[in-house]
Assembly symmetry: C2
Homo-oligomer: 555 residues x 2
């Protein structure tokens, strides 16, 4: 037997792929969730909170990366005496639990059931930079409504939500497609046989993923993946779908429709004076942007400006041509037209919501319309390179998810907002302050008078001023001021024995102090000292002045 | 080989011991968390959100029920190629992750570090009625402050928090004890040897659990558990600590101190005209309550009314006598005095916070002061029996938790609020509405005019009225009204072809309609019909009147 070893100290580490959130990161997310919940509520959606844990069988297998261990979920087996406990897992999204809830409570819930849900979800994936295994989602879904009006409502609500959290119109775009259109194209190309769903299912997966990567790889990259495969810059080879030239031609015709639609869109937006959707690998769009709004295009196909409904008519006619005689394909085009009409009637035009045939969405359960919201403004990294935020929300219709449980078809559609990405975007654009101020710090000059100091802090708080007492070792006064600095305190309060005897306190304006230390002249320093004495009875009033001068709101 | 079977349908069930929360259950909890966060923030605490998942070694083993499988946590092993992945687990509280965070980021965090955290925690326990395996906690802790001022601050903040969420003063009581006092008593009784911590450690656990059950079992029950053990009404036997008569006598003297303190407290509260703390098994207190406030006691020891500081002096002197010459015991009594003094100076008297030697707290990591908040108002179950809510918050000082990671002692103290219990209490007392109204429902009379109806709903929402379009099958109009009922809608709007042609809409006041159906006379019904016609342009204004008449706030 091995020798008994002393238990080593545990490592103080966040588990791999997880992270901690501090201060404003937490409160700003809470504020955003509250804002989003407010919009969802106004649309008549009801809150639902399911537990983080579901049975593995209830969750099902719909994650895109099927080659991951445990199918991408964190799972374990219940301890039962007979060794036959259920397999449990952390939810990987909020949609699968909704399907379970609707099936479980369908006799008690209204139909249609509009619900929203927000909270963390977990993916057992390989962590990467900025890619975490726990992240927040904020979903809204309508279960039991087959009408495209439900999808149109979800898209309109998503647009309203993005604007309400601080993304102005023009800085986002909601792109809508339909899985039935994609299936129609694949039927025409002979990759889908409606009578035999398993026929070429794997190839279809590769085709869908290839189309999904159009923005990143360009048409040549997609074409390579439709055929033998593609070798990227690093030398890695991705296996292709192995389609024949004719099959690939049909799919590429569809892919190119996107380019034609984009080109019409550019004209439309130029005419409206709105920014284009810009992709890094799209020289036409980049040139347009570089040339400025309103100037003529320097490349690509150009068109006379059209109305939004003309753009739509052209888009749908392209798609109709491509899906040809496929019934499922035509159904998809009709559904897209219906959504666009309903949205147009409410004033949601292509400056907010567009038909875009390249939208695919990774999850396996979508059956009809799919949506994706992307941010269209530019972000520059520390090296000045432009970066795209990509998708901040996505969703679609999943008519078969409840059926798994009940055997009866229940139509459903919904959206999921990636709150953490949205917050990151707003922070990078400076629309949310990255740092915030701390509380006023009352220092400790005389440790026998802690009760007095506690009472002073209570007085400030009761007056609505965020305040705290220094609770470290008070011996070294410099440490107390260093603490206040680290807390980003706007002010410190000092009451030694002398001040106490004279009925006064010292107030140190720490923000002004920092400014003076950096920039002030001697005159300014004399005129507006950052530390001053006030009568004890005026402490609250004078602190309020200091906070107001620095634009710090009170609680 | 067994025959290939068709995959059975998954069960639509919440996993055992978990539950779903709907509508107001979710939003009211969110509102309460927001209120609590507001108080914590005002006290200078900073938000922290750690992930739900921690390594098992970082969590440590501090749960009370050590005989549960997996030590009470949900755990699994990371998939790694070498089969040596970390063991991960869902956090069982928010304190263990805080200790990990402080150890991990100690060079970047201010010291002392005041932080709050809120979110679900998970316990792998046997579920029971009202006992779930996922529940919310809402914690505030101060790390790096050895001063009792940190503990006093936590207690004061807890009192403020309970009042801010809707528990009036007098309806709650925060009870404070100190583990060092308990250890002092055990040292005097010879159950604790400071030089050999492992000596009689198991017996000490039984003694602590016995004291913790004083309110439920009474002194006789505790005495039995100190000796051989106790058989309950059902016949189940709980093994005792096996203390000698003399050892048990010393512990019981301590237990009885609680009765003496209670008795003085009763006199104090009677003199103040405040309600007593009442326990079901305490005939004295019950009689006092039955006899009404201000009448003389019908049993037990009675005292001339004392001031709160006199009560405190007597309490501490009882405790001093019992811990005798134990250094650790005397330290504990001094700490209690210090907390009580600091609180008293801020006006937190024994009507809100009391010293109570029977408070133990189950978790293994406490080292000094321990706190517990209990609700003191009565709740009656459906059979008219009085029920106690018991503890809604608890905490204490845990000076060794960070040391596990770093080897260096870091003092820490904090509180955890059981938000779900608090919400249940407020609902049962009728202080939070259990049900709330739904949105206005716009009905569908003509399915070709969905776009018009969607525009109407958008108009209502833009006017701040929560509204939704009926998205089910519109064929049967009765179903649409049934849906509105189920949604608890205050009003429905109807616009058929005839109304459209005449430029009017019908408004159905569903709340008034329900009242009329139950109680109204024919005259009333004629005078104030629940359905009326309004010009289309006045729809928003008239709906606002209807909502205001029913006291329904707008968004």
């Amino acid at each position: 037997m091995a020798k008994q070893k002393k238990q080593p100290r545990p490592r103080a580490e966040t588990p791999k792929g997880f992270r901690d959130y501090f201060g404003a990161e937490v409160t700003q997310r809470a504020e955003m969730l509250r804002t989003i919940a407010g919009v969802y509520h106004r649309y008549g959606f009801e809150a639902l909170e399911t537990s983080a844990v579901e049975t593995v069988e209830a969750l099902g297998k719909f994650l895109p990366d099927v080659d991951r261990p445990n199918d991408g979920v964190f799972a374990w087996r219940e301890d039962e005496d007979d060794g036959k406990g259920d397999w449990l897992a952390l939810r990987y999204d909020l949609t699968a639990p909704l399907a379970r809830v609707y099936a479980q409570y369908r006799n008690d819930l209204p139909t249609p059931y509009r619900r929203y849900a927000m909270g963390p979800v977990w993916r057992n994936e390989k962590p990467g930079p900025g890619r975490y295994r726990q992240f927040y989602q904020c979903d809204a879904d309508t279960v039991g409504a087959a009408s495209m009006a439900a999808d149109a409502e979800i898209c309109a609500m998503l647009a309203d939500t993005l604007e309400e959290v601080g993304i102005p119109r023009g800085d986002y775009l909601i792109r809508v497609n339909n899985r039935k259109v994609l299936n129609g194209v694949m039927e025409v190309a002979g990759v889908l046989n409606p009578d035999d769903p398993s026929h070429m299912a794997q190839e279809r997966g590769i085709v869908l993923r290839a189309i999904d990567k159009l923005d990143r790889l360009g048409p040549e990259g997609v074409r390579a993946l439709l055929g033998e495969g593609r070798r990227d810059e690093s030398g890695d080879f991705t296996q292709g779908a192995g389609l024949s030239d004719e099959q690939a031609r049909i799919v590429m015709e569809f892919v190119n429709a996107k380019e034609k639609i984009n080109s019409r869109m550019h004209s439309y937006w130029r005419a409206k004076g709105q920014p284009d959707i810009v992709h890094d690998n799209d020289p036409t769009a980049t040139a347009l942007r570089a040339g400025g709004v309103g100037r003529s295009s320097m490349g690509g196909v150009d068109h006379t400006p059209e109305s939004s409904s003309e753009v739509l008519v052209h888009t749908l006619s392209y798609l109709n041509d491509i899906v040809g005689s496929s019934p499922i394909g035509n159904e998809g085009v009709d559904e897209l037209k219906s959504i666009a009409d309903l949205l147009g009637a409410q004033g949601y035009g292509p400056d907010r919501i567009v038909i875009d045939p390249s939208v695919v969405r990774g999850l396996g359960y979508y059956t009809g319309p799919v949506y994706e919201a992307e941010l269209t403004f530019d972000i520059y990294d520390e090296k000045g390179r432009r970066r795209q935020f990509g998708s901040v929300a996505g969703g679609g219709r999943y008519d078969d998810l409840v059926k798994r449980f009940t055997g009866q078809a229940v139509p459903a559609t919904g959206i999921s907002i990636g709150v953490d990405r949205l917050l990151a975007a707003l922070r990078e654009k400076g629309r949310i302050k990255a740092v915030t101020h701390g509380p006023v710090v009352v220092t400790v000059m005389d440790r026998d008078r802690m009760a007095d100091y506690l009472a002073m802090v209570a007085e400030l708080r009761n007056a609505g001023i965020r305040a705290e007492l220094y609770l470290g070792n008070p011996k070294n006064f410099g440490n107390q001021l260093k603490y206040a600095d680290r807390r980003r305190s706007p002010a410190a309060v000092i009451e030694g024995g002398d001040e106490k005897a004279r009925g006064v306190v010292q107030v140190k304006d720490l923000i002004l102090g920092a400014q003076i230390a950096e920039t002030a002249t001697l005159e300014e320093w004399k005129e507006r000292p950052s530390q001053f004495e006030v009568p004890r009875g005026e402490l609250v009033a004078r602190l309020r002045e200091v906070l107001a001068a620095h634009g710090i709101g009170q609680d």
